[in-house]
């Protein structure tokens, strides 16, 4: 499953590079690299969350932008009420504290995932793909029509959420905070996919009939995985809104769900770090290709085609083979 975690040296090396990255970027004269890396970390969290249901659980959700966008809107809406100094629904005060918005995000996206999952998981296969897509699009049109919260234009967050003792206006500080969050996130995910829970989840993907014959009530485990996955995507959305200082319906659009899927496939379906690698590759490709041509998605399409056809398991598998190990 996750061969890379068994290579602590490689992992430590990557972590050192990531910690040193802002300095390297400044020294090399590309300070924008830090922002790029921040985006990659955020998308890495979102894609890895999607991968929990898609890669490990075999549930192809085409609606994870819903949770990603909800995360962004929790930050945006709470910030708007904070600046206007009024109450959300006359009950909840706004805030600009990350220590409040982040748990709030997890709660909201978790509840949304429980609701959407409870209904969608009654189906399977293509129906499941279409229903998750439909729910995400419903949410998209809801936010487009919510004029109070910016409608089409989205919400501008003038200042990123604060963390006590840290200057969250500094790009480098944000990068390190996000790196720490990503490290915790991937550690937790690593525990989950190797746990008893992860074991039945992977079993369900391989053969649901067999799991039923072992006495496993499948639905509740799938739903739990879907909720965890939705919370992860919500977390990423919260971080993204703080990073861009902007939350818009674009975050909820179905193309965002597609992008997350592309990252998972690009990096390696059903692997722990594959989605992070995929997110990094996607972010870098987007930046590089977009600087050459506005039709950068065409180039990306060809690269994706190559990866799917020839790597047998994404960039992670390609690395593994170059390193002389069978994936």
């Amino acid at each position: 499953m996750d061969k890379s975690i068994n290579k602590p040296f490689l992992l430590a090396g990557v972590l050192i590079v990531l910690v040193a990255l802002p300095f390297l970027a400044n020294a090399a004269g590309y300070p924008a690299l830090t922002s790029l890396a921040t985006r990659a970390l955020i998308y890495g969290i979102a894609a890895a969350s999607l991968n929990l249901v898609l890669g490990y659980g075999g549930m192809v959700s085409f609606g994870h932008a819903a949770f990603f966008g909800l995360g962004g809107y929790v930050v945006g809406i709470l910030y708007q009420h904070y600046t206007q100094d009024d109450m959300l629904l006359g009950l909840i005060p706004g805030t600009n504290q990350l220590l409040v918005t982040l748990p709030a995000t997890l709660l909201v996206s978790g509840l949304a995932a429980a609701l959407i999952g409870a209904l969608s998981l009654r189906t399977g296969g293509v129906q499941f793909i279409m229903i998750t897509l439909a729910f995400a699009q419903m949410l998209f049109f809801l936010f487009v029509s919510l004029k109070t919260y910016g409608g089409d234009d989205g919400l501008i967050i003038r200042r990123a959420n604060e963390l006590p003792g840290l200057n969250m206006r500094d790009k480098q500080t944000i990068y390190y905070v996000y790196l720490a969050i990503a490290a915790i996130f991937f550690f937790l995910l690593w525990r989950i996919v190797n746990s008893r829970f992860g074991n039945v989840l992977v079993g369900l993907r391989q053969n649901e009939r067999r799991m039923a014959a072992l006495g496993l009530p499948a639905y509740r485990y799938k739903l739990a995985a879907f909720v965890i996955s939705g919370m992860g995507a919500g977390l990423a959305g919260c971080l993204m809104a703080n990073f861009l200082r902007f939350a818009s319906p674009d975050m909820v659009h179905w193309t965002k769900s597609g992008e997350l899927m592309v990252m998972v496939v690009l990096g390696g379906v059903g692997t722990l770090f594959g989605p992070l690698i995929g997110a990094a590759a996607y972010t870098i490709l987007e930046a590089v290709l977009a600087s050459w041509t506005e039709y950068w998605q065409l180039g990306l399409g060809f690269i994706l085609l190559f990866v799917v056809l020839y790597t047998h398991g994404g960039i992670q598998a390609l690395f593994a083979r170059i390193g002389g190990r069978r994936p």
Partner: protein
């Protein structure tokens, strides 16, 4: 006579106009191997599917140790002590042989909402799984991936996995199907050895195996049980001979 482990009464299943299970009544006593035979299309697998809850019967009752299980989900029935093997092997192909058995034990032990400990470092689980593989004779292949097993080995693993759920009653859906002569013989010996531990309902086409194993045999034709009795009684039953044995394709 002690209370039967499994007691099926008046079971009916219709698919449109076709009556696949026609008022079936049978029971399996403790420590017994009860064989269910019948020509292809007689409704044997349909009956198994109703027993495990994959299909809902239109009428009739199913009792496991005196408890009605007809309305329960598959998962609940398995927890109450039912287990089955599949005619066409149904395993987790990406997992190792050991993993396939260990996951069965894990599920038997209780809920799997445990997110922290590494399941592959769970010594007790691994050792218990090795124990079941030993019984079946697959222990040397424990670390092999299931996709790389031969058909015969997969059939054996099916049995090991079913045993790992520690059932009171084992439903065996053609355990000999596709096995070579030697492998069949091994499977018969294996099942004989298990008889003291678990009662079995054996669906099988291989008559040698059936006559070697079964305490009682029921004959199913067009969804109806036309006879139940010992091997000798079934052999001599004219109706059975006409419907089934006498048709000249004993080994079908």
């Amino acid at each position: 006579m002690s209370r039967p482990i499994l007691s099926v009464k008046g079971l009916v299943k219709r698919f449109g106009g076709l009556v696949a299970t026609d008022n079936v009544t049978l029971d399996v006593r403790p420590g017994e191997i009860h064989a269910l035979i019948g020509p292809n299309g007689a409704g044997k697998t349909t009956l198994i599917s109703q027993l495990v809850g994959e299909l809902r019967p239109d009428a009739g009752t199913i009792e496991l140790e005196g408890r009605g299980i007809g309305g329960l989900s598959t998962a609940r029935r398995i927890r109450l002590g039912l287990a089955r093997t599949f005619q066409i092997t149904c395993l987790l192909p990406e997992y190792s042989v050991l993993d396939n058995v260990a996951i069965a034990i894990q599920i038997r032990q209780g809920h799997s909402f445990r997110f922290w400990g590494n399941v592959r470092h769970d010594k007790a689980l691994r050792e218990a799984a090795i124990g079941f593989l030993d019984t079946i004779g697959l222990a040397p292949r424990a670390d092999e991936q299931v996709a790389n097993l031969s058909h015969g080995e997969q059939k054996q693993l099916e049995l090991a996995v079913a045993l790992a759920t520690e059932p009171r009653l084992l439903l065996l859906d053609e355990p000999m199907a596709g096995l070579g002569h030697t492998e069949s013989r091994q499977m018969v010996e294996l099942l004989k050895g298990l008889k003291s531990q678990v009662s079995m309902l054996l669906v099988e086409h291989d008559m040698d195996a059936v006559f070697a194993l079964a305490d009682r045999i029921s004959v199913l034709v067009y969804g109806r049980v036309i006879a139940t009795g010992t091997a000798g009684e079934i052999r001599d039953n004219p109706e059975v001979r006409a419907a089934y044995l006498g048709e000249g394709d004993e080994a079908c």
